[in-house]
Symmetry: C2
Subunit: 361 residues, 2 copies
């Protein structure tokens, strides 16, 4: 058993309207049934006319590029300096939405294929119908990734095989069930193809031979590789998520939570803000039996839900500017509590208390 | 030109102290100079004795596993439910620090090799010295990645070749200089090796033949693939970064910034909190020529730096509880300004003003 990775040489420059199936079948008359074709997305885009005209240089080029990027962007994921990591309308997270200025005239930009799975299916179908070749097709592109330097080629589209090889449920020789073994084999195949493409000049198609015994059409394409943003632990850049946390703090909802409050979390929150609040401010965390009665008096609508009270004391006599500052400090504490997962509400002080304000938790 | 990917069959179970060079050279007497060996990290770990004993089940197993994970963790990157994405002491960002319970007795966990580059160098040296074989060695493991479903094999360690193939500075046929073409070829080679390992049962070593013509020792190993957290746009999980933003809001530093303030950013911040501040509160954004004079009066140490002032007005007569609430609202506004990148400081109202407080920007 072996796999072979072969370059398809002599395809030459591809332009709009070119027949990729004919170009490939002519350049590689040695193709077999079961071969996996790894096709660089750029020649798919060029053949499909996914090009836009832009000025060759100057500020007009940047403005035109920004406009193209905005049109290709479904959601901005992270930015730093000139870098824009975005999610495309396909769902791929890529720098500059995969827009490429290399291997094309200086006056044009190459966009990703509109629907790379459809492009792969069309090329597979054309090779089958017109050249009697039953191959799988992967449309590949080069991407960066978090945490690791260097780029790798991965799949944007696939036809004729599933994107993922699923070992879940299998049992290893020691009797352990395999849980995390959904392998993104089409990404590994795309990377394998890049190894031979990168060794030759201008080779846009590689063939992996020996991997498939039969092709199949009942797959869902590379779409299966796109993880929904809400399931992803890294749906936003760190700076963007931090800013989102700040923005959320600004509109922190008022209201105590349903769950019992962990006194340690409250102590940590008080400690977190201790260095920034006015020196005179004292936050007293009250958890004794009188709390419920005090809360009933202060906020009749929350007596059953709130489980603790933080009382804010200011030394007398109190200056109006000190009360404003104290309110700001209480909001800091509310924010620190929120960072600990503890919701809170700002209340007037309970009747009979010497405090200036109260937080119900 | 072609590449071949070949499985090394018959290695069998590896245990502590096993001589990997002997096992591989015996199982694959057909190895050539220039072959790239892709060795699953698990057999390296087992040979090196990187195993820990844990209970086979029950709560003791979970506790023991947590302890092992903590020891292997340099930094927690993201968590959700039972999932722990951490940065290891090597710098790799992986689920559970790469600790694995598959293909090993139920009473043991397999840790990553202590220094996978050193493991790769040692295996390469042993094959050269004792078997006269000049090969490159990649120590590989399976990892998930953000944004894309499915796992791929990547390199943890490498010897005999550089981890990255650098095309920067090369020029394409259209005269465009290639900027982003540092390819992580050892990751693509690791993935290519997985394609054949995954097709066979229990094949821990694959060989990629035809990729290298000569090996070299002047490389820096897979360490070169580790991006420093401070350079990474995704150094923290989205939820963790959002919480960090909340925590930062709680201890927002007091003080205006150096840069001129964008009035549009101030208007956006005021609009952001408009729905949550007390109905009576009015924030007036002042940018006229008297601002500097008011700031000089209020805060003599910032007259040159602050460029705008937000005045807070409350309807008279003012209740002490309203002043506290107003202070909290000003802190919300400060936080919204910070989310817009606008630093601020809470001040007493300038002399002669009818405001209850002021924010210097």
């Amino acid at each position: 058993m072996r796999l072979e990775i072969l370059p398809v040489l002599g395809i030459g420059d591809v332009t709009e309207g070119d027949d990729l199936a004919a170009l490939i079948a002519t350049a590689a008359p040695w193709l077999h049934d079961g071969d996996v074709l790894v096709v660089t997305s750029k020649i798919v885009s060029k053949a499909e006319g996914r090009l836009v005209d832009v000025p060759a240089d100057g500020p007009g080029r940047l403005a035109a590029r920004d406009e193209v990027l905005a049109a290709e962007t479904a959601r901005v994921v992270a930015t730093r300096g000139a870098t824009r990591i975005v999610q495309t309308h396909h769902g791929f997270v890529m720098a500059s939405a995969g827009i490429d200025a290399s291997n094309v005239d200086k006056t044009r930009l190459v966009l990703l294929p509109k629907d790379p799975d459809a492009s792969a299916r069309a090329l597979r179908a054309a090779l089958r119908e017109r050249y009697d070749l039953d191959v799988a097709v992967i449309v590949s592109d080069t991407m960066g990734r978090p945490w690791r330097n260097g780029l790798t080629d991965v799949a944007l589209g696939v036809a004729g095989m599933p994107a993922i090889r699923d070992h879940r449920g299998e049992v290893d020789p020691y009797g352990n069930e395999l849980h995390l073994t959904e392998m993104a084999v089409v990404d590994e195949l795309a990377g394998a193809g890049e190894l031979i493409k990168g060794k030759c000049d201008q080779v846009p198609v590689a063939v992996v031979r020996g991997y498939l015994t039969v092709t199949r059409d009942d797959d869902t394409g590379a779409r299966e590789l796109v993880r929904d943003a809400e399931l992803d632990l890294f749906s936003l850049g760190t700076a963007e998520a931090t800013a989102a946390g700040l923005a959320a703090a600004a509109v922190l909802p008022d209201g105590p939570g349903e769950a019992p409050v962990d006194p340690a979390a409250v102590r940590r929150a008080i400690a977190a803000v201790a260095g920034v609040v006015a020196p005179g401010a004292v936050f007293t965390h009250v958890t004794d039996d009188d709390v419920r009665a005090m809360l009933v008096a202060a906020v009749p609508r929350w007596p059953e839900r709130a489980t603790a009270l933080v009382l804010g004391e200011l030394p007398a006599p109190v200056d109006p500017a000190d009360l404003v500052r104290f309110g700001a400090d209480l909001q800091r504490l509310r924010t620190a509590l929120a960072a600990e997962g503890v919701p809170s509400a700002l209340l007037p002080p309970p009747a009979g208390s010497t405090a200036s304000a109260a937080l119900a938790l």
